[in-house]
């Protein structure tokens, strides 16, 4: 295998941004017909490396070879013309155009006078979609397609050129299991055609399913390449974060206090109905269910972003009406929202300003914001959560996903809430930060917080929760204690099978 000519080879790539050395002499190669996984924590430099490959960033130093020909890739178009195609994590399709137009965007077949040759366009696009086993036609409007199918369009786009290497950046982030299988089949087909695949993902199981070799980045530096068949998750994790991880079931129960928050027959039509649960001080209550089961909507209702259509919310055994987020905050409810970039942070603001935002009105001396008090709060939670940022003046948007999430958590811990709701605490962050955040949630519970954790990841729910509420289509199917829950009965409950009240 190693005496083949690499489809793509990087040699000593260095890329610096103001204040950050994002890539520090990274070398990397992918052979034709190989799937080479690229791993690393958030901030390790994976995305930067991919952008260098795709012509979106220019390296400060180092060289890029395509089939051992040194190339310069000043723009994404150059990269594509030379056979390097990036399938974006965030899809970049023109929603109001047809699949065919998107596939050939920028190089639509033309007739005389520059008119689009629709017949040829649809014929060629149809061919490619067929090759990908897509069940939609080239004339389908992209806005009508599911995310998985949109991804197919992106992949089809890659196949319009003579691709030497295709880079997949977290391709399964929003796919269902069935869709994943289809994607993996396509990747295998591409491999069979001799295309080199670069596969970036956080998910270990996928990497072990699909990749032939894997390379690890840490802090912008290359840490080594392993043959997938000859390694295991433990070794890879150690290479990524420099230590092993504990991902066991939660067994330590904290000392439980009084009921902090209770919902009685809470409904918000049509999102969820007759929901009952309570959480005690010192307890972590997990909410598990499929996307759309109503978990996030419950959190938003408790936080005053939605108003219940019926039912009661009790805080410290007293009924409350939470009118707005400001009201929720005043009552001691904090919500770490699902999407940190859209809901959690003002990305253009610095770390300190983000962290103190919910309480800025109270941090005043006379009419002015008390600078010292603000910095003291930031310093306190920076140390407690081990946030790695150059200074409080650092713009939050420049931090890694894990550190951004810690800023959001710090922002809400700083409110000293009685009830802390955490929606998808570790979405899109790397394994190292993930376990830190899990430990933090357990530690907070031990120190007396009442915590609600909403998650779509089963290991996570099992790991952090004392009790688990399983939801299905807006209803609570079953509540488990951590002793009685198993992966099987949990999966059944969230699929609507075998719940206590499967009405």
């Amino acid at each position: 295998m190693t005496d083949q000519t690499p489809a793509l080879r990087l040699d000593g790539i260095v890329k610096t941004f103001p204040g950050v050395r994002a890539l520090d002499g990274v070398s990397f190669e992918v052979l034709p017909g190989e799937c080479h996984a690229l791993l690393g924590e958030n901030g390790a430099g994976k995305s930067t490396l991919m952008k260098v490959l795709a012509g979106m960033h220019q390296p400060d130093e180092g060289r890029i070879f395509i089939e051992e020909q040194e190339v310069v890739l000043p723009t994404p178009l150059d990269a594509k013309a030379k056979g390097v195609v990036l399938i974006h994590q965030e899809l970049s399709l023109a929603e109001e155009m047809t699949a065919a137009e998107n596939i050939f965007l920028g190089e639509l077949p033309r007739k005389r006078f520059g008119m689009v040759d629709w017949k040829t366009l649809f014929a060629r696009a149809g061919e490619i979609l067929k090759k990908l086993n897509c069940d939609f036609g080239p004339e389908t409007k992209v806005s009508r397609l599911s995310i998985a199918k949109k991804q197919m369009v992106e992949i089809a786009r890659a196949l319009t050129v003579d691709a030497k290497a295709v880079i997949f950046d977290e391709p399964t982030a929003s796919l269902t299991d069935a869709e994943k299988v289809v994607l993996f089949d396509i990747i295998r087909d591409l491999k069979a055609d001799g295309v080199g695949i670069v596969y970036i993902s956080h998910r270990m199981d996928e990497i072990f399913t699909i990749s032939d070799r894997l390379s690890v980045l840490r802090d912008g530096a290359y840490r080594g390449t392993l043959v997938t068949a000859e390694t295991d998750e433990d070794e890879v994790t150690r290479l990524m974060i420099g230590r092993s991880l504990d991902y066991s079931r939660n067994v330590q129960h904290a000392e439980l206090g009084d009921i902090a928050l209770e919902a009685r027959n809470l409904s918000c039509d049509p999102l969820f109905r007759d929901v009952n649960f309570h959480v005690r001080q010192g307890e972590v209550l997990g909410f598990y269910g499929l996307v759309g089961a109503g978990r996030t909507e419950i959190a938003e209702t408790l936080f005053g972003l939605r108003h219940p259509s019926s039912g009661q919310i009790l805080l410290d055994r007293e009924e409350v009406h939470v009118a707005s987020p400001a009201d929720a905050i005043a009552r001691g409810i904090s919500l770490v929202p699902e999407s940190r970039k859209e809901q959690g942070l003002v990305l253009g603001m610095n770390c300190r300003d983000n962290m103190t935002l919910p309480q800025i009105g109270d941090l005043t001396a006379g009419p002015f914001v008390a600078n010292g008090a603000e910095i003291a709060i930031y310093d306190q939670y920076r140390d407690r959560l081990e946030i790695k940022a150059p200074s409080w003046r650092s713009i939050v948007g420049n931090l890694s996903g894990g550190n951004q999430q810690k800023i959001v958590i710090g922002k809400w811990l700083a409110m000293k809430p009685r009830v802390l709701i955490v929606d998808e605490p570790t979405r899109g962050i790397d394994v190292g930060s993930k376990s830190e955040i899990h430990n933090l949630i357990r530690e907070l519970a031990r120190s007396g917080y009442a915590i609600i954790v909403i998650s779509s990841e089963m290991p996570e729910v099992l790991h952090v929760s004392d009790r688990i509420v399983a939801m299905y289509q807006g209803r609570v199917m079953r509540e488990f204690t951590s002793d009685e829950v198993t992966e099987d009965n949990l999966v059944q409950a969230i699929s609507g099978i075998g719940g206590e009240r499967a009405a």
């Binding site: 400060d60 130093e61 936080f303 707005s324 987020p325 929720a328 859209e342 990305l347 300003d353 919910p358």
Partner: protein, 338 residues
């Protein structure tokens, strides 16, 4: 740089690119001040009157009206919205204060005018803040509606203050405080006050948060609608203050005296580096932006160009400022990606 060439980095093309982008980022970060200095030097070479203390003071005094308005609009823009209604709002407020002056005296006239102007700002604020309508549409509509309102109020007549010599109203446009023209004092004090408001108070922080990410602001318990509403009140108040200066200076008012001011005001805000996307910007830099416009105008006149040449030059300066701003963010002048 060339002497310490590393083995694998010794390719001149890359070094040039790197230093090129460094120089560009310095230029883009301080670009507004550098451009300012270049204009001053340029005009000073071509006209010996340009740098005289008298001329400088004249320019600042003439910039005061646009400047005060631009400070208010900066607050709106930082909050993520636009205010294009300030032009005809200036006409409205000036006509009103001048007309009421002879009926109820200067003090009461100013108060009534400010109250009326704040009502107009409140309409903007309600529609954009609470009804969540697009600010471009709302304030563009208000620009037209308020112009209509002025003409209805005045019946198409221009207004004048009859007894121009004996009223203390003259102090705002024609007077001096400690030897400095009052418009300059109002301009700079107002700038300083609003700067402190935006940089050092909880309200200012909320405006930046709402402009930077409205959803995250709401999730942080900020009452977004109220914040946006308040930014429009500030903008209206600023325009009211500008109307006092203008009315006092002219001692009368035409119906359309503020026509076109909205674009000059916005030009000053943009030149000051405030992003139209919201969430970033600086009131004091708006002052610099407005002064640049003022000095360009003045310099071109002194060099003997017709007054309308400034419109063209202003446009070029704005395009350059905006271009440098985005070029600094993406690291090169032309980019295939955003």
């Amino acid at each position: 740089m060339v002497a310490e060439t590393k083995p694998e980095a010794g390719r001149p093309a890359r070094i040039r690119r790197r230093t090129g982008s460094n120089a560009m980022s310095v230029f883009a970060k301080q670009g507004i001040l550098i451009a300012f200095a270049l204009f001053i030097v340029g005009f000073a070479i071509f006209s010996d009157r340009f740098l005289s203390a008298e001329n400088l003071m004249t320019v600042i005094r003439q910039s005061a009206i646009i400047g005060v308005m631009a400070i208010g609009v900066t607050v709106v823009v930082i909050g993520g919205n636009l205010d294009l209604s300030v032009g005809s709002m200036l006409s409205f407020s000036t006509v009103l204060v001048v007309d009421l002056h002879d009926q109820m005296g200067p003090g009461l006239a100013i108060l009534v005018m400010l109250a009326a102007t704040l009502c107009l700002g409140a309409v903007n604020g309600l529609l954009v803040g609470y009804a969540r309508l697009n600010s471009l549409i709302v304030t563009l509509g208000m620009l037209s509606a308020i112009q209509g309102l002025v003409l209805i109020y005045s019946g198409g007549q221009n207004v004048d203050i009859v007894n121009q010599e004996s009223t203390w109203f003259a102090i705002f446009g024609r007077g001096y405080v400690f030897g400095i023209a009052t418009p300059i004092v109002i301009f700079l004090v107002f700038a300083l006050l609003v700067h402190v408001l935006m940089s050092s108070t909880a309200f200012g922080r909320r405006v930046y948060a709402v402009g930077g990410n409205p959803t995250a602001a709401v999730f942080s318990g900020i009452r977004r609608s109220r914040v946006v509403f308040t930014t429009y009140l500030i903008s209206a108040f600023a325009t009211g203050c500008a109307a006092v200066i203008l009315g006092s200076r002219v001692m009368g008012s035409q119906n359309n005296v503020g026509q076109g001011y909205e674009l000059l005001v916005l030009a000053g805000v943009i030149l000051g580096g405030t992003s139209l996307l919201g969430g970033s910007g600086n009131v004091l830099k708006t002052v610099v932006g407005v002064l640049i416009l003022g000095f360009i105008q003045n310099g071109l006149l002194l060099m003997g160009f017709a007054y309308y040449v400034q419109w063209l030059v202003t446009w070029i300066v704005i395009i350059l400022a905006v271009w440098l701003d985005v070029a600094a963010k993406r690291g090169r002048l032309f980019s295939p990606i955003a």
